[in-house]
């Protein structure tokens, strides 16, 4: 039997969930034994195999057209899509801007903020991704497994990876279920 392929990517998040993934420390070797770790933001390969992977993991939510593309690509190429962390599952910290709207958030961050001088302006390069409200992944594509946490505990991530690498669906409950 061939090893299941695992790939990951990040979107609107802080990369903390991937840091937590690295915090599983030497257990990473165990996962590498069980699974074929493909494209991730912290490996050389940047995009999941066109031929598809067994497990696609996404950190962060979706707040612009670029994230949307990443989410759709990962969905299309993975059998099981995992939303990792509170931003991916609920919207998380970036979703706070939904409370005031994207325009007001940009105005505050780039123009009005106290540390700015008079020349502050909202970036408008046409090559930039188009911004939207912050959304949880399941609002854009179907998610098969939600692993909440800010970030999820390394032990939870290890459990999830180990189960998925062995072809089982992890059960997120009791000590593995934390929303914070």
């Amino acid at each position: 039997m061939t090893k299941p392929k695992i790939s990951s990517d990040w979107m609107a998040g802080c990369s903390g969930c991937h840091m937590s993934l690295l915090d599983i420390d030497e257990r990473l070797l165990e996962i590498a034994e069980l699974a074929d770790i493909r494209a991730t933001p912290i490996t050389d390969l940047k995009e999941p195999d066109e031929s598809g992977v067994d497990v696609g993991i996404l950190e962060g939510g979706i707040n612009n057209s670029s994230n949307e593309e990443v989410a759709h690509r990962m969905r299309a190429r993975s059998k099981i899509l995992v939303a990792l962390g509170d931003c991916a599952v609920f919207g998380g910290v970036p979703a706070l801007r939904n409370m005031c709207g994207t325009q007001e958030a940009l105005q505050r961050a780039y123009v009005d903020i106290e540390s700015n001088d008079e020349s502050g302006k909202i970036p408008n390069d046409p090559e930039l991704a188009v911004m939207s409200n912050m959304r949880a992944i399941h609002e854009v594509v179907t998610v098969d497994l939600h692993v909440p946490g800010c970030p999820p505990d390394p032990d939870v991530i290890y459990y999830v990876l180990k189960e998925l690498a062995q072809g089982r669906m992890p059960e997120i409950k009791d000590e593995n279920l934390h929303w914070h």
């Binding site: 939303a83 509170d86 599952v89 609920f90 919207g91 998380g92 910290v93 979703a95 706070l96 939904n98 409370m99 005031c100 409200n133 959304r135 949880a136 399941h138 609002e139 998610v143 497994l145 939600h146 692993v147 909440p148 800010c150 059960e171 997120i172 409950k173 009791d174 279920l177 934390h178 929303w179 914070h180």
Partner: protein, 657 residues
């Protein structure tokens, strides 16, 4: 009894039990949010829905009375799905992002409910609306974004403190919790009892002191007794790293969780400077010294003055300490002036009366739960013994009537059905007038036909109108369970006869008879009654060469400091710096209330043990240790049998030791 079946289990419950409570009594867990065991069922959140055989839709079990033959299921797949949807709707209504919230991680009932249902995400996303946050209150914050509209806070405000400050404004998902007519909490009628914070299931109401200092599971929780006044409310002291994080009301205690501002917040808001080393006056200056030297100095100065030492103790000290204090100074050193800081003002007269007559005249606090008419005379409960005031206030919407007799302004003036403002110091005349009026109206519960004093002459003395007085007399005499609550207005009278007059009225209106003693006094500080029982209730007169004051962590009045100004040698046993310690010749630093274990005898004679919750700073000793050490230095053996010492004198209320 009612017989019903829950999840296939045959169970029997009392009539009037809700399905939810029937399940709880039989260890069947039904998840709840708006329900609180100490508040009236509300049926708001619907999380406790169950399936009842024969009924079309699931029903909230918290408001459903159990009835005979009911067949109930609580764990079907369809119910689990319903709970999931209910929780998802709650989460989607406001900003319930857990990572930003103080109670997340164990203390949030909403989060815990979602965990129990194994919810990994919200099927519906929030509606991204901002709701107001009210930070105007000195002790807590109301964040409507975290609110699930369970209305526990509103029910607690009404049912625990009887204050009715909190309510809601708007409708549906726009509903918000507001104070009064939507004024900032800090400017509202809120009395800061904090019951709302204690019952809030989410982070919508969080108190400032404990915010972000850890979760309940990280704290040590010590069951103890509030030392704020003589009511002796049960408290739970939450500590972490030898620091009090918060105080909550003990639901298992007589006060059933209710506390006041003093008990919940003020004791954590300590601004005084702590004394951590003994000090003695050297060449006019207070200088830090060792315990050994302090005690030697004390012995040198006090030994020649034996018999010429006056001694005062705070009534906040434990029964053990007060008894040792009494034994040391009154018995051991034969001092003719051993009393308490209160000087018997809140207790002496009734103690004297009980002693003269040889029987208890007062009843228990729980009479206030069932009283349908309260005569509040000379007691400003909301200032001095607030929780007793809450007991009355919260029953008023159910029809309990309140008559206030107080020449001064009273915190409950606005609530009174009849408010009598007699001339100051004429309480006896008020009782005489009530007696005459009850007899005149033919409403006496006893065979009494004549009053001690005529109505007109009594009215002339107290200056009240006949109409008002008669109304009050009628209201009292027609009540089924009237209670007289009296305070310092009465106890500072010089004549015991006022007690006689009160007791005559109590009998006449049916408050006191062979079965019931419908009279209560609230007394003073935590161990006021114990001090009275030990005879520490004399008025202070200082003509002595030395005075020993065991202040403990109590406050000292200006009056006391003035009285002790000219004492040749002043020893102060205290926890905090004060005007008195500034004047002292020797200071012995002691524990504060939470640092020492000991008993407290509350106003209704209930003896309670308070555990210590904190370790005292180095260099500080317990009040009892210091008194024992002082006794040793002065060659006195302290009688340790405080139980017998307490019961030597007839008590004004039956003691439950």
């Amino acid at each position: 009894m009612i017989n019903l079946t829950i999840n296939g289990k045959q169970i029997e419950v009392e009539d009037g039990t809700t399905v939810l409570n029937a399940a709880r009594q039989n260890d069947i867990k039904i998840p709840t949010l708006c329900d609180h065991p100490n508040l009236t069922p509300y049926g708001g959140c619907r999380l406790c829905v169950v399936e009842v055989k024969g009924m079309r839709v699931p029903i909230a079990s918290c408001t459903l009375p159990a009835s005979n033959g009911m067949v109930i299921e609580t764990e079907t797949d369809s119910l689990k799905k319903s709970r999931n949807v209910i929780l998802s709707l709650l989460f989607s209504e406001r900003n319930h992002f857990c990572p930003f919230c103080q109670v997340s991680g164990g203390d949030c009932e909403l989060q815990n409910a979602a965990y129990d249902e194994h919810m990994t995400h919200w099927p519906m996303q929030p509606q991204w609306t901002n709701f107001p946050v009210d930070t105007s209150h000195p002790f807590f914050i109301l964040d409507n974004n975290r609110c699930i509209l369970c209305r526990r806070c509103i029910r607690a405000c009404a049912e625990m403190s009887g204050n009715f400050t909190l309510g809601v404004e708007e409708r549906g998902s726009a509903t918000i919790v507001v104070a009064d007519t939507n004024v900032p909490l800090g400017q509202s009628t809120c009395v800061s009892c904090g019951s709302c914070v204690q019952v809030c299931p989410t982070g919508a109401l969080i108190d400032r002191t404990s915010a972000y200092l850890g979760h309940d599971k990280q704290m040590t929780i010590t069951r103890s007794v509030c030392r704020g006044c003589s009511l002796g409310c049960g408290i739970q002291i939450h500590t972490r790293d030898n620091r009090i994080v918060k105080i909550t009301g003990d639901y298992e205690a007589e006060n059933v969780g209710t506390l006041c501002k003093t008990g919940r917040f003020l004791s954590l808001d300590e601004k005084r400077t702590r004394l951590t080393s003994p000090m003695k006056r050297v060449a006019g200056q207070l200088t830090a010294t060792s315990w050994e030297d302090a005690l030697t100095t004390l012995a040198q100065n006090l030994t020649p003055l034996k018999g010429n030492i006056a001694a005062l103790a705070s009534t906040r000290l434990s029964v053990e300490s007060l008894s040792a204090f009494k034994s040391l100074f009154a018995d051991g050193l034969s001092s003719n002036m051993v009393t308490s800081i209160e000087e018997g003002r809140p207790t002496a007269i009734q103690a004297k009366y009980a002693e003269q007559n040889g029987f208890a005249i007062e009843g228990k606090l729980d009479m206030l739960r069932t009283a349908d008419c309260v005569l509040l005379i000379g007691a400003d409960l909301l200032t001095t013994h607030e929780v007793a005031g809450f007991y009355i206030k919260r029953n008023m919407p159910k029809g309990t009537r309140l008559i206030i007799v107080d020449p001064n302004e009273n915190g409950m003036d606005d609530l009174a059905n009849i408010n009598l403002k007699p001339k100051a110091g004429t309480d006896e005349a008020v009782f005489n007038a009530l007696e005459a009026a009850v007899i005149k109206e033919g409403l006496a519960h006893t065979a009494e036909k004549t009053s001690k004093v005529s109505l007109s002459s009594a009215l002339q003395v107290c200056g009240l109108s006949e109409e008002d007085l008669t109304d009050a007399a009628r209201m009292l005499a027609e009540a089924v369970a009237p209670v007289i609550v009296y305070g310092k207005g009465i106890t500072t009278s010089s004549e015991v006869s006022v007690m006689d007059a009160m007791l005559r009225v109590a009998k006449l209106i049916g408050a006191s008879d062979s079965e019931r003693r419908g009279i209560l006094s609230v007394k003073g500080e935590a161990n006021s009654l114990a001090a009275a029982q030990l005879g520490l209730d004399e008025q202070l007169e200082v003509k002595h060469e030395a005075v020993y004051v065991a202040v403990g962590d109590d406050y000292v009045t200006k009056r006391l400091v003035e009285k002790l100004e000219k004492v040749p040698y002043l020893v102060v046993q205290a926890s905090y710096e004060s005007a008195l310690t500034e004047r002292a010749d020797l200071i012995l630093p002691v524990n504060i209330w939470a640092e020492e274990a000991g008993h407290a005898l509350n106003t209704e004679g209930r003896l309670q043990f308070a555990e210590s919750a904190l370790t005292a700073p180095e260099g500080v000793r317990s009040n009892l240790d210091v008194l024992n050490e002082v006794a040793k230095q002065l060659g006195v053996t302290v009688n340790e049998d405080w139980r017998t010492a307490l019961t030597k004198r007839t008590s004004v209320v039956e003691l439950e030791m």
